[in-house]
């Protein structure tokens, strides 16, 4: 649906986006992830036609920038970062204006608005001035703006930044709901957000794509061939426990961890192909120890993110 090739953007001498390639299929929710200043917003702004690329091509459903820019803008609903809206307009007037520009006939508008108000939770604020609204409500008006003409593609730039936890959950719910039938690209640096909402993650760092994988695959890929199991036992000594488990097939390293109350805690590293947990449990069971903790450490997105985007 969206194809991006060799997309490059220079701000004067500074290269913000360095020849990136990716494509997004219909119905995907793609999370654009990266530290501040990585080029996320610049990339989204080029997709929406706000900025023109220095080099490279963008095509959306067979239309290309910049020749068909108006057609592409018509297919994309865009929520810029922190939803900069006309503060002195009323919510209703604003949405009516947007509806006009996006080509929604006057007689269809009322039914359209009712649907939008329900989806975005705008009940009871249509008569207020946009400038008086809280950040969360403004974000919803921005979302209604983006979804005005039922666009096939939604592009959301940090849709939850600056919101409180309740508002974040609300907005996330709306996004997931929209995502069932539309293509969504959202940028964020909140990792739990992409984990919760996105099918696919593209990580950008310093203008380059450093990872582009389905969310599940990405989480697996970095943990790769090493897996850590943590065990904590009571009524034992470090040497005893180490001696008991160290000859299990697949274990590559043992590391003593600090545990409270005189418990013994070990990090047992093993190769990825083999599940050492049954054997490990068997060894512990055969002793008179009390098993307090037994779990496999999940590499979180956070670790992956840090590994991929840390300064070289």
């Amino acid at each position: 649906m969206i194809h991006v090739e060799n997309l490059t953007k220079y701000y004067g001498e500074f290269c913000a986006v360095k020849g990136i390639n990716f494509s997004v299929d219909r119905g995907e929710i793609v999370g654009l992830l990266g530290p501040n200043g990585a080029g996320k917003t610049t990339t989204l702004r080029m997709l929406t036609g706000y900025l023109l690329p220095t080099d490279g091509t963008i095509s959306v459903k067979g239309y290309t920038m910049p020749d068909d820019i108006v057609a592409i803008k018509g297919m994309i609903g865009y929520l810029p970062e922190s939803a900069p809206l006309y503060n002195e307009m009323l919510v209703y007037d604003y949405l009516d204006y947007v509806a006009g520009i996006k080509g929604i006939e006057r007689d269809r508008r009322q039914s359209h608005f009712e649907k939008l108000v329900a989806t975005c939770g705008l009940q009871g604020i249509m008569h207020l001035q946009i400038g008086e609204l809280s950040k969360g409500l403004k974000q919803r008006v921005g979302l209604a703006h983006a979804m005005m003409n039922d666009p096939e593609i939604l592009i959301l730039d940090e849709p939850t930044s600056g919101l409180d936890p309740n508002q974040i959950t609300d907005i996330r719910g709306i996004i997931t709901e929209i995502g069932t039938e539309k293509t969504v690209i959202l940028s964020t640096h909140i990792l739990s957000e992409v984990e919760a909402t996105c099918d696919r993650i593209i990580i950008i760092n310093e203008g380059n794509i450093v990872a582009d994988k389905p969310t599940a695959a990405l989480k697996q890929s970095v943990s790769g061939d090493r897996r850590d199991t943590i065990i904590t036992v009571r009524n034992a000594g470090y040497d005893d426990v180490e001696a008991a488990v160290k000859d299990i097939d697949g274990i590559t390293a043992l590391e003593r961890l600090n545990a409270p109350d005189g418990d013994i805690s070990l990090r047992v590293a093993s190769t990825g192909e083999m599940d050492i947990r049954p054997a490990l449990y068997g060894r512990i069971k055969s002793h008179d120890w009390i098993l307090m903790e037994f779990y496999q450490e999940q590499k979180t997105l956070e670790t992956i993110f840090r590994e991929l985007t840390k300064e070289m």
């Binding site: 706000y50 820019i69 803008k73 922190s82 503060n87 996006k102």
Partner: protein, 233 residues
């Protein structure tokens, strides 16, 4: 069509907020005062005094009308919103330009009371009056194009106002400054004076050269705006 929608929204902004009323009041106050303070001394039933002042007054008032059109959007960030909707630069620029021109026209409407009230106390020659109003619209539109360009180069409305005023003021005054120029190019320089062309039309003589002058200023101003906005992305 998109031009009309943007025009409507801009006009709504002008008239919902106090801007329009303040600008119109100041305009009427200034022109009314200068016009009538000498009107009874001359004792002539003409609007000549009113029109002769207009270029100077407009070079302050018009940039005040247009200064917010782009600068505010760029500052608030709503510029990103309007630019990512299915509109072209041309739609945006023309919509805002015509909104400014409409406000200027609305500002001139109440001054029609001058010729009407004068017609009760003397015989008004309606030709120059009609020409004057037509010229005033051309002048206002040309200055609006300059003001819009000034508004597109900055995110600061005060800067936009000052830049716009300086250029309009120069255009309005240039033919009063002709003594400073070498004799050979005086005629050439005089051609750039907005006042010179405006006074021609205000005499009731609509010459295509004068009309062309104002249309050129509008075109240059709007095209410069287009180039400025374009270079922004």
């Amino acid at each position: 069509m998109q031009v009309m929608r943007i025009l409507r929204k801009e006009l709504q902004d002008y008239f919902v907020s106090p801007i329009a009323y303040i600008v119109i009041s100041i305009f009427l106050l200034v022109t009314g005062w200068f016009f009538f303070s000498t009107f009874f001394i001359f004792g002539q039933a003409s609007l000549r005094n009113f029109f002769s002042l207009l270029p100077i007054v407009f070079s302050f008032i018009v940039p005040a009308v247009t200064m917010r059109l782009f600068a505010e959007e760029i500052k608030v960030g709503s510029y990103e919103i309007i630019l990512t909707m299915p509109v072209t630069f041309r739609d945006i620029i023309l919509g805002k330009f015509f909104a400014g021109v409409t406000l200027i026209a609305a500002m001139l409407v109440p001054t029609l009371a001058y010729p009407v009230s004068i017609s009760f106390i003397g015989t008004v020659d309606w030709g120059p009056v009609a020409g004057g109003y037509m010229g005033a619209l051309f002048l206002g539109a040309a200055f609006a194009a300059v003001g819009i360009w000034a508004s597109s180069v900055t995110r600061n409305q005060i800067v936009a106002f000052i830049v716009g005023t300086v250029i309009c003021f120069a255009l309005a005054l240039i033919d009063k400054m002709l003594i400073f120029f070498p004799r050979g190019i005086v005629n050439f320089i005089a051609f750039f004076g907005a006042d010179y062309h405006f006074q021609n039309i205000a005499k009731g003589v609509v010459d295509s050269r004068d009309v062309l002058y104002f249309l050129s200023v509008m075109f240059i101003g709007l095209y410069a705006t287009y180039m400025t906005l374009h270079s922004r992305n």
